[in-house]
Point group: C2
Chain length 433, copies 2
């Protein structure tokens, strides 16, 4: 057996991902050494509570609650704590002390990416975060490297497994949002407090990271327009099925060309997509990222977006890659944000709406409503009138693309229109020719 040099790895966090990383490092040490050209030696696992119950039994002697001290002893620090602090300080300190860093922390990379990238570049350190988006799916490296010579125009991803599970269940079983959320919670797909998932915060963090990498710029997470899925009713899902569409929570990163030059948009919201779009076939808690680039055309990356072993796979990929570079020498590749593109406000972003209205069931109503859309320069793509049920008729309107701001004005005007009893749903339409 080859005698390899040893690289000291400090693991910060032993939750569902961390404990799997530890297990795989301990079980596959020889094979990983052969691939990395160095023995990846787990020197310690930083935890909050040494005695906590864990899925995987970890060697007691590796556990410590002194995370800073552990990190300071390592060649490579693997940060799997989640959240901003103490993760941010530990990662920055590790980089500044000359260690390389692997993190799966999307919230940290989304909120403090530029600071971390700068720190890594300044010292020539490696910083890898493949697990921060799409779990096991390789998407960071393809964006950073494989597509580095192309001009990405759009990234559209299902990047949150919990909400995809819920929406998929609503489609498959005709469940209400309430029931689907309860089922997702029961099965462990949703956390006790599902806010980060169902309100789109998790997806927004990922949109920030994807947009920043795809467009070589910085997209602050606060500038990601974000809407959650809780307003999606069983009726929206039924209407989608009638139209051959599917409701998905999408993270959309887009390059917009306009009279003022190039801008980017990053946004998260539930939207209708055609049933034959590749993203429509992404079921249960799976993730997929659909990338469109000028030369490459359409690409899709599909797989498990979460889960302990799945996310651990991405972390270990980063770890082995970093170890290989560590062994042969040379600094880490910097993340380039040279393009420095302005962010388009959501009001400027062209989208398409589907509206469902309850309208007075009398002649001339359709004309009145069409006039309102015309006044805001929004053209109608499809209209469907349902048989009246009582004094009102149900009207489903699909628009052509128009700036969000104008579409919102249409909604506001309809809301106060005398012939409109109620607006039953408003949902965007994406990926439609």
């Amino acid at each position: 057996m080859t005698a390899y040099r040893s690289l000291k790895v400090a693991l910060l966090g032993a939750g569902s991902v961390g404990s799997q990383v530890a297990r795989l490092l301990l079980e596959h040490g020889d094979e990983l050494a052969a691939r990395a050209g160095a023995r990846i030696e787990l020197v310690g696992i930083g935890v909050r509570d040494v005695d906590a119950q864990r899925d995987v039994e970890l060697p007691r002697e590796l556990l410590t609650t002194d995370l800073a001290r552990l990190a300071a002893s390592a060649d490579i620090v693997v940060e799997l704590l989640g959240g901003i602090e103490p993760a941010r300080t530990l990662v920055l300190d590790a980089l500044n002390a000359g260690a390389d860093v692997v993190t799966a922390n999307k919230a940290l990379v989304a909120a403090h990416g530029p600071e971390l990238f700068d720190a890594a570049e300044r010292v020539g350190g490696q910083l890898a975060f493949e697990a921060a988006v799409g779990g096991a799916i390789p998407i960071i490296r393809p964006l950073e490297a494989s597509l580095a010579g192309d001009r990405i125009t759009r990234v559209m991803g299902i990047v949150n497994g919990t909400t995809n599970y819920i929406l998929d269940l609503m489609h498959r079983e005709g469940a209400t949002m309430e029931d689907a959320l309860a089922e997702a919670t029961r099965l462990g797909y949703a956390e006790a407090d599902p806010t980060a998932d169902v309100e789109g915060y998790d997806a927004a963090s990922k949109a920030t990271i994807l947009a920043s990498l795809a467009f070589h710029t910085t997209v602050p997470v606060e500038q990601v327009h974000r809407e959650g899925i809780l307003d999606i009713s069983a009726e929206v899902v039924q209407q989608a099925e009638r139209d051959g569409r599917v409701v998905k929570l999408l993270a959309i990163c887009e390059r917009l060309d306009g009279p003022d030059g190039e801008r980017v948009s990053a946004r998260v919201y539930p939207a209708l997509i055609p049933g034959d779009h590749p993203l429509a076939a992404v079921h249960e808690a799976k993730n997929a990222i659909f990338v469109t680039a000028e030369a490459a055309g359409d690409l899709m990356f599909y797989g498990a977006g979460a889960g302990g072993p799945e996310t651990a796979s991405a972390v270990l990929g980063d770890l082995v890659s970093i170890a290989r570079r560590h062994v042969i020498g040379g600094p880490g590749l910097a993340v380039s944000s040279h393009a420095n593109l302005p962010i388009a406000p959501i009001a400027d972003v062209p989208t398409r709406y589907q509206l469902r209205l309850a309208v007075a069931d009398r002649p001339g109503v359709l004309a009145a409503i069409a006039t309102i859309l015309g006044q805001h320069d929004v053209s109608i793509e499809a209209i469907e009138q349902h048989v009246a049920d009582g004094p009102t008729a149900s009207l489903v309107l699909g628009t052509h693309a128009a700036p969000e701001g104008r579409l919102q004005q249409v909604v506001d005007a309809l809301r106060t229109h005398e012939d409109v009893a109620s607006i039953d749903h408003v949902i965007r339409i994406e990926a439609q020719a």
Copy 2:
């Protein structure tokens, strides 16, 4: 504007991919410089005939027929000649002279990968070949880096667009093989001599590369079991549709555990897959690679597997990545083939067969045939008897998994059996639970 240092790039070959690489380099020079941290200066384009007609008009002063001299002047050589020689010599000479190399040449990497990898590693040079498999689809880097910490068990890919187009057409329009091939030729999906595609040679080259990377070993292309698609009849496609399946030409790379330890198998053949498998939704000339790893689970990479601009995207991604590393310093990462796994002969590989037989329409025939399968320890999974048409009845048999050798013995025994008038088709079944 930042003043960047300049890296000299020699482009060898100006076919459909090369001319697009040249165009993109010339059109997007500033943007690529900002990403790479160096100006990627196209110093020359090596061609066979300076006066040949090309899709893209190239600056006359860049064209040269002296490829060796051009390559010798460059920091990075981009080899897009295809075929073995002179590509191999030019690439080896470039590496030995200290240049980095990008190639899209699957035949070269498949036939001489280890020699090229060794040469690059010896001098610390970079060798990148993302475009050699799956065109625009990032698959090389995910296998080499993102999944470097995982244990890949299976790679199953649609890696040849021409054959996928033909089989897809047979499904969509009920066309015969002859008509579908003619249509693919007419539309430019198939070349005048389609042998490399329809006989599976192209897919076998890609299987070699995928298996070698996925399993960290060397799989010689001669040891890839290869069958083409020409025997696929309209009847096979019809039977597939009745069974809810799809016929695809697959490149399958598999890790096999057995009493003699671990072996690998790489093979190319048309097979039936379930209609709800993600690969079944890969239409026209698209490619997709489905990867299964122990921790990551199932992943899929989807996109354009060929085409000038699409493949150029992958070449440019490699070029920018190589330029970035060139600028900051450090050797290229070596391709690891430490595992050195034996190749399992096809006879040992467990597969499943579907057989369609014309059998004598008399009592006891079914029992006689079932006995033959039983004698070879092959168990039947499904059996379907069609109404007799004349003196023979049509029988469709599906087997459970058994070693190929035994399945072949069954076919041989049936072929000579007195009750079997003919064997109308034999096709494998893959990806079925």
